[in-house]
């Protein structure tokens, strides 16, 4: 049971790290957040496999509930950031490139980049 608790604590720590990262979302940080969430899933799955059918330790349940609460927080932060960027992008496109015939914000052409150094 001690090992299960240890794994769950690692899972919680990884989700907390993801939440912390999501406070300042950028593409690079989102990649790190995804890695932390993957680690949390692995640790949770591993910890879950170690839990006996009828655990007497209420700490296990409390730890899992805490992980769930943090996962919900991560979800909310993710949703907020995604909404923030997608809305801003829509505004930006409409301001810069105008609207399409059906009223949606038009796309900004992004041609391939060519970079020469030397």
């Amino acid at each position: 049971m001690a090992e299960a608790l240890e794994r769950l604590a690692l899972a919680r720590s990884a989700v907390e790290q993801s939440c912390h990262l999501l406070l300042t979302p950028s593409p690079e940080i989102l990649d790190r957040s995804a890695a932390a969430l993957s680690r949390a899933i692995e640790e949770l799955a591993a910890g879950r496999a170690l839990i006996p059918p009828f655990p007497s330790d209420s700490g296990v349940l409390a730890e899992v509930r805490e992980i769930q609460a943090k996962a919900h927080l991560a979800g909310r932060l993710l949703e907020n950031a995604a909404t923030y960027h997608s809305r801003w992008n829509r505004i930006l496109r409409s301001m810069v490139a105008g609207y399409t015939a059906d009223g949606a914000a038009a796309s900004i052409a992004a041609p391939g980049r060519l970079r020469v150094e030397g």
Binding site: L37, A45, V64, Q68, R76, P111
Partner: protein, 497 residues
């Protein structure tokens, strides 16, 4: 003809501006990674529209960056509004929870348990005067507990109304400050950075009280609206909010003495209460108009505390008055003497209106023990048939764990019904506390996003949006997996739920 030419001129100007923007933006996108390249910014603004004066409107180059700033500020205000709401929810629900002890060690649940024990002891010795007096004493404690809870809820209700008034006053004061800033801007302080900082600081303060949207006009003045539809400030004109408590008239109230409801009024007197659903003001309105009435009632509902008080009193009184204090004495063989059975008298009283109907929303507050009742007047006898000498006392004792609907309230025992009320408050508080923690993080995130935009190229954002989208989808999928896994694990650990 002139108007067609004007329209064409406007369209041409707008197209020209858009074309410039496209050129600039695509140039920036192409060179986003070019070392030493200084990104250009294309801006837009609206031309004045006043046909008689010759202003035909249209779009010209303006400042895209300012739009982003405005957008980021609005995102912060939205999160601040949510945090203001959850913080107020936590504060008020914490106060509300102190009125509902679920442990059974104080207040109504303790008084009820003691009374049920008193009934039980009386059922064992139905003629014992001490046991009867104990029942009356415990009944007085039950009545006092209901009164205390009702009084405490009434105080909380009054405090909430005062807070509503104070919050409206605070909103008006902050908008008044913004009005002063606008006046300065309109008098020429258009580019005062300090003044601009004051404006945004005040708007951020304001956003914790009410959901706001604010836009900066071309003259530099800020226009502020509440809930997206009620004007608070335009130029140097402030539109003050009002607050009033009002008893509804349509449909006619079923409880004429029922508590009134809180209303927020626009400066024109329109009722905008339904539009204020977030912020500190939204929280207080919800608490005053929805949460507290659950317990204290409204013009149309009795409220759970009053319902419980009345049903408990009616149930106890019904059993006692259908019982007998003493048996009938048959007349002698010569037909003389004898007396009918003496029926029981009610134990509890509560307020009624002048016409004799129940004052439904004042039952808990007015619940009392019948001042005329004596220990000898408690009816222990169930006349049957068959007559049972302690039948009524037993039936009263069985109210602790009722076996039929007559002793229940909405399918629950009185103690369970109270427990449901208490647990609902606890559940609401728990939800509000969780929301507050999440909202604090969401506000910090919005503030970080606002901070991050400084020095970031708009074009970089345009380029990275696809990257953002993929990252969000990946993270979102992982959060879903994690959520499902925790849910499955919780179900595994709590198979009964």
């Amino acid at each position: 003809m002139a108007s067609i030419l004007s329209a064409l001129h406007v369209a041409a100007g707008s197209l020209d501006a858009l074309n410039q923007a496209l050129v600039v933006t695509q140039n920036n996108v192409s060179n986003a990674s070019t070392p030493g390249y200084a990104a250009q910014t294309q801006t837009f603004y609206a031309m004045p529209f006043d046909i008689p004066e010759g202003f035909v409107g249209g779009t010209r180059a303006g400042e895209v960056v300012s739009a982003r700033n405005q957008y980021a500020e609005q995102a912060v205000w939205q999160q601040n509004t949510l945090l203001g709401q959850s913080t107020q929810d936590v504060n008020t629900l914490t106060s509300l929870q102190t009125n509902f002890d679920i442990s059974g060690n104080t207040g109504i649940p303790l008084a009820l348990n003691n009374l049920f024990q008193g009934f039980s002891a009386w059922a064992q010795t139905p003629t014992d005067t001490n046991a009867r007096q104990t029942v009356i004493n415990q009944a007085q404690t039950v009545a006092s507990s209901f009164q205390q809870t009702a009084t405490s809820l009434a105080t909380l209700t009054q405090n909430t109304e005062q807070q509503l008034q104070q919050t409206v006053t605070q909103v008006n004061q902050l908008v008044g400050q913004l009005q002063g800033y606008n006046a300065q801007v309109l008098n020429g302080d258009h580019n005062d950075a300090g003044l601009d900082a004051d404006v945004y600081s005040t708007l951020e303060q304001l956003s914790q009280y009410v959901p706001i949207s604010a836009t900066k006009q071309t003259d530099g003045a800020v226009t502020v609206m509440a809930a997206g539809q009620t004007m608070l400030l335009q130029g140097d004109t402030q539109y003050q909010l009002g607050f009033q408590m009002q008893q509804p008239t349509n449909p006619p109230p079923t409880n004429t003495d029922g508590p009134p409801t809180a209303h927020i009024l626009s400066s024109s007197g329109s009722d905008i209460t339904s539009t204020i659903t977030s912020g500190q003001l939204g929280s207080l309105l919800n608490l005053r108009n929805n949460v507290l009435p659950t317990y204290i009632g409204t013009a149309y509902n009795q409220g759970e505390l009053n319902t419980m008080a009345q049903q408990f009193a009616d149930t106890v009184n019904g059993l006692l008055t259908s019982g007998n204090i003493s048996d009938a004495v048959p007349p002698a063989s010569d037909g003389t003497g004898g007396s009918p059975a003496v029926p029981g008298v009610p134990l509890f009283t509560y307020a009624t209106n002048a016409d004799g109907t129940v004052n439904a929303t004042n039952v808990a507050q007015s619940l009392a023990v019948n001042p005329d009742i004596t220990a000898g007047q408690l009816a222990a006898i169930d006349p049957g048939p068959p007559e049972v000498s302690n039948g009524t006392a037993l039936a009263l004792a069985n109210l602790a764990t009722p076996t039929n609907a007559a002793g229940e309230i909405n399918g629950a025992s009185f103690t369970q019904y109270y427990g449901n009320m208490a647990s609902q408050v606890g559940s609401d508080l728990s939800t509000a506390t969780n929301n507050q923690q999440v909202d604090q993080s969401a506000l910090a995130q919005a503030q970080n996003l606002r901070q991050q935009q400084t020095g970031v190229s708009l074009d970089d954002e345009a380029v990275s949006v696809i990257e953002f989208q993929r990252s969000y989808e990946a993270n979102s999928h992982l959060v879903s997996v994690l959520d499902q896994l925790t849910l499955d694990t919780i179900n595994m650990l709590t198979p009964s739920t």
